[in-house]
């Protein structure tokens, strides 16, 4: 089992090595003539105004929170799916109750307009 993750680690190290080489070769080979105008943020050719790290819409937070709930739900479903055939109908009923509770929350979020983007 451990050797499986060792292969992934070796593969990741090699992939990271190639990525590093490619990005830093570009740094060595390319010219470097920075100027104030060149390094200004691109705003369609006009002088950039204000900060770029603007406030953003609250809806992104709502989506992220609902995502967390459902992603955890999926994390519960996977192990259940693997041993489902040995669980039988009892497993089916249990999962339907679990999903039912979550679907009530999902419908509530839907009715409150969490997924509606204007």
């Amino acid at each position: 089992m451990l050797s499986e993750y060792l292969s992934i680690l070796i593969y990741m190290i090699l992939a990271s090595g190639i990525t590093l080489v490619v990005i830093f070769a570009n740094k060595l080979l390319g010219p470097s003539r920075p100027s104030a105008r060149k390094s200004a943020a691109y705003e369609s050719g006009i002088k950039p105004t204000g900060t770029a790290r603007e406030r953003f819409h609250i809806r992104y937070h709502v989506i992220a929170m609902i995502f967390l709930v459902f992603d955890l739900e999926i994390a519960f479903i996977y192990p259940w799916a693997v041993i489902y055939k040995t669980l039988g109908w009892a497993g089916f009923i249990e999962m339907m109750i679990f999903l039912g509770i979550l679907i009530i929350g999902f419908l509530y979020a839907w009715k409150r307009g969490a997924f509606t983007w204007e």
Partner: protein, 350 residues
């Protein structure tokens, strides 16, 4: 026969990893070529045909050009994150491919299967987990660039990716229910044989809805048109990579195309019988060939819909993700779990 020498095993693992990385990089280069040629044909143009025969050297020329571009950091950018983001995107894109089997597992050298980097018991969960880390590459790149377009692109992109991840995650559960395992080689093995003597025992015929949901979700997860809102050039210039140039820009593109290959690989493995095809039992070397043929079909499909469908609006995107994909995937999950209990031999598994 004793256990094989540890150095030989390590050498095989390293060589295999290097070959896969080089093949993926080449596949990336020629997917850009294929995309430009095909899109041109769809639009009654010719496309790049000057560099080498049929323009085949075009990706190489583009790559060399990008090496000699200025290594540029915008003012006010977070320099560490600005460099980290494209690297993170590229490495996670490569890593996600690690668990996908592209040939029969019994082809081994020193006890190491040659046609798969690694076969952890988490299998498909590993792909989902690693592709989620890829979102960090996009959001860090957008945030660190200190540009309004980049930040907006990154925000939209991350909201889109997490929304569609749910649909994809739930759509795959149907296959796991049938197979009773997360390991991809096992899932492929259970798709061998035929229904009624002629129809390949592929999961697409058992889980058509799941396949459709995965296909839509994968298109959105890889930021491909018609879901390419993060890069909608009319409104956001280039989205999260507006301020990137040179090889850092290329790294984002490597990530995108390798993700397309991985998504095609996952769809092939889960629904189209993976490396299985005629004569694989006699000649195991045909396995990777069938796998590449199926990946190519997906690549063609992704390019085709880019040429056909217009980009959807952001509110439509969120509607499709949350109000269509998630409920349908839950429905698919419920139906599949009933069918599996009524007809346990359907998936072929234990």
């Amino acid at each position: 026969m004793g256990s094989p020498p540890i150095l030989a095993v390590l050498a095989v693992i390293v060589a295999k990893a290097l070959v896969v990385i080089v093949v993926l990089l080449t596949a990336f280069a020629y997917m850009t070529w294929l995309e430009r040629r095909l899109i041109s044909r769809f639009q009654v143009r010719i496309g790049p045909n000057r560099v080498g025969p049929f323009g085949l050297m075009q990706p190489l020329a583009d790559g060399i050009k990008l090496f000699f571009k200025e290594d540029f950091v915008p003012a006010g950018a977070d320099k560490v994150l600005y460099y980290l983001a494209p690297g993170l995107a590229m490495v996670t894109a490569f890593t996600a491919f690690a668990v996908i089997p592209f040939g029969p597992p019994d082809v081994q050298l020193f006890g190491v299967p040659l046609f798969q980097i690694s076969n952890p018991n988490a299998g498909i969960l590993f792909v989902l987990a690693v592709t989620s880390i890829g979102i960090y590459g996009i959001i860090l790149g957008g945030w660190s660039s200190n540009s309004k377009y980049s930040l907006l692109g990154a925000l939209r992109s991350s909201a889109q990716l997490i929304s569609y991840e749910l649909g994809v995650g739930l759509a795959i559960v149907g296959v796991v229910l049938l197979a009773g395992t997360l390991q991809l080689p096992e899932i492929v093995k259970e798709q061998s044989g035929f229904f009624f003597g002629f129809l390949p025992r592929w999961n697409i015929f058992v889980q058509p809805l799941g396949f459709l949901l995965l296909l839509i979700g994968a298109t959105a997860e890889t930021n491909r048109p018609p879901f390419d809102l993060p890069e909608s050039e009319q409104e956001l210039v280039a989205g999260f990579h507006t301020e990137y140039g040179g090889m850092k820009f290329a790294a984002f593109f490597v990530a995108e195309y390798v993700n397309v290959i991985t998504a095609s690989g996952v769809a092939t493995t889960l629904f189209l019988g993976g490396w299985q095809g005629p004569f694989v039992d006699q000649f195991p070397i045909l396995g990777p060939l069938w796998f590449v043929v199926k990946i190519f079909a997906f690549a063609f499909f992704f390019i085709w819909i880019r040429a056909t469908l217009p980009r959807i609006r952001y509110d439509q995107l969120m509607d499709v993700g949350w109000k269509l994909l998630v409920p349908l995937a839950l429905l698919n999950l419920a139906i599949t779990s009933v069918i599996v209990l009524i007809w346990p031999s359907l998936g072929g598994g234990s």
